[in-house]
Symmetry: D3
Subunit: 132 residues, 6 copies
């Protein structure tokens, strides 16, 4: 890896830690013995290129991410990471719940219900709601 | 339809016109001779209930909608309506393009490319970019 | 909530219990501390508005629901609720299996195989097939 | 092709014509110079095997098909063929509209709106609604 | 079942065992008490008809299958069966990882990350990577 | 853009022209006035990073791409580009048709039929089959 690649990687790694925190580092770590380059592209492209762009603030990017993953309905682990990320960059729990309710219009109630289950897990882990 | 239904309908119709403008009215109109009740539910539930909720501002709701429809990749007419809606409620063209580029990370490049084509059509219709 | 909302809610709640039974009540209950309004819309819109409509009998509605959820392939908890619901409103186990086999043509064998796994769980829980 | 293959093919071809009518024959015809075996499997497997099964009547099979294709939202030509097919085997136009409205709950409003557009085209072609 | 059906079944069963090995037999076995005919069609159509065709070698068929299932993102059990199958017919572990990384371009990073998790499970079961 | 970025871009641009030919250049050109950076990422990431990787030959990469896009069923313009690309890097028309027939097993017949329609258009444009 040469210097520029290094710049994208370093910028991406900082951005990943800022947004996803420990959960993001775990994703990269879990790829180490199966597809480390997929981890590198996640850092370089997703975070070093895209999340580092101007023109849309991080909170809006996480609104978009939570909405997209809720609607797609087939990426529960990533949805949990990004519900955490949304909280990390300034979304309130209430706003996240609103995004999920909003998605029922576009992707149907099952997508919204499953996203609500993911949010429930995250909110319990963070002590936002009681673990009942 | 009794009074309360009327209230949801009236609130939804006002919200639909505020957000989607003429395009929204056309959608409802086009349902008249095939499924008018689907138009009524669009007004009552999508706009009277969901878009009228507190807790997430309209601009954020349209960021979520454009992100979800771009990621799903199978609802081009609705994506065009909501790229218009996003502009109507305060998103800049640059922010919409950012949402679409952002979606390449989560739903792949074809989804982003097709959403960019939809945005191009809308931006040309509105004179934001030259019709070339 | 005013009187009419109350009517939709009451009608929906009765319909939900008629169709989904205890499983439906559990879904609403599980939303209590995360997104209670999503539960309310499920009752009011999905059951109070849609399932309460004339023009398509409940058995046909559940055939449509099981087919749609099997084909979408990303809503296993809801598919199990509605395999139960289909049985509750008059589908035979054989008919449900036929819907699932039928779906292999339209959404492929993985979708059908995963729907069959969901049906197997439900049929075992209800004692329709032996728990082996 | 040996005798048994012939039996499946003949049974499937008769079933295809019974259900899909001229539209089904056109699909097979259109595959002639690109993938004739895909046409043959459509006849043998989809119609000779699956649609010829006992245990679920043809009307229920078309309810399942229209629901699945509406929910998937990425198969408009096939949805139109099967809205026709549903009418051919005894669904009323009202029932088809009900299936489509019903699907809004499970796959969202864009899926339902696009299915309604497909139904509108078919209903106009068949003179069920005026061509306006 | 007559003789020809028997031929397709026998050819498919041999092909299934050649490609999927024990995992394929388990899938068929698990369908026994819920939808045995779905198992029969898997053998007859998927393996007896399609995988037995000339014109595309088995390794290329499994590249296509792993790519499709990774991109769809809603068929994890089948993806694991076919990562095994790909290894059985000559794909190297490195090639499978490349297919999964490749899919990030077309279906996004969550699809690729979840496919990588599936590959990790299979590679550990087969001792290709250490179980850590 | 610094030197390394330049290297990825140059490598990607050469790879894009090698694989997609004129069609690829048109995609990038069409993004110029709407989302030029999406075009740049397509070149840098998709072609400069991914298609330039070792470990899977270009023909296998296009088999994977055609399979994934056929299965997803919501990216027809990209599917046509990559049916062309598959031919450009050594797939025979027969192999492409086999991939499409193969996909019927995993994503259903509508996905396969619509991919066959896309292939028909490409094959006619290239004079592989007569334009009838």
């Amino acid at each position: 890896m040469n210097i520029e690649g290094n710049e994208r990687f370093i910028r991406g790694w900082e951005k990943l830690k800022e947004i996803d925190g420990e959960a993001g580092e775990k994703v990269i770590q879990s790829l180490k013995n199966i597809a480390p380059d997929l981890g590198r592209y996640t850092i370089e492209f997703a975070f070093g290129d895209i999340y580092s762009r101007q023109g849309l603030d991080l909170k809006s990017r996480e609104i978009a991410t939570v909405a997209a993953l809720s609607a797609m309905g087939n990426a529960e682990p990533q949805l949990r990471v990004h519900i955490n990320a949304a909280l990390n960059v300034g979304c309130t729990p209430e706003e996240i719940v609103e995004i999920i309710i909003h998605i029922s219009v576009y992707a149907g109630f099952p997508a919204a219900l499953n996203a609500a289950s993911a949010a429930k897990i995250v909110f319990m882990e963070r002590g936002i709601i009681a673990n009942t």
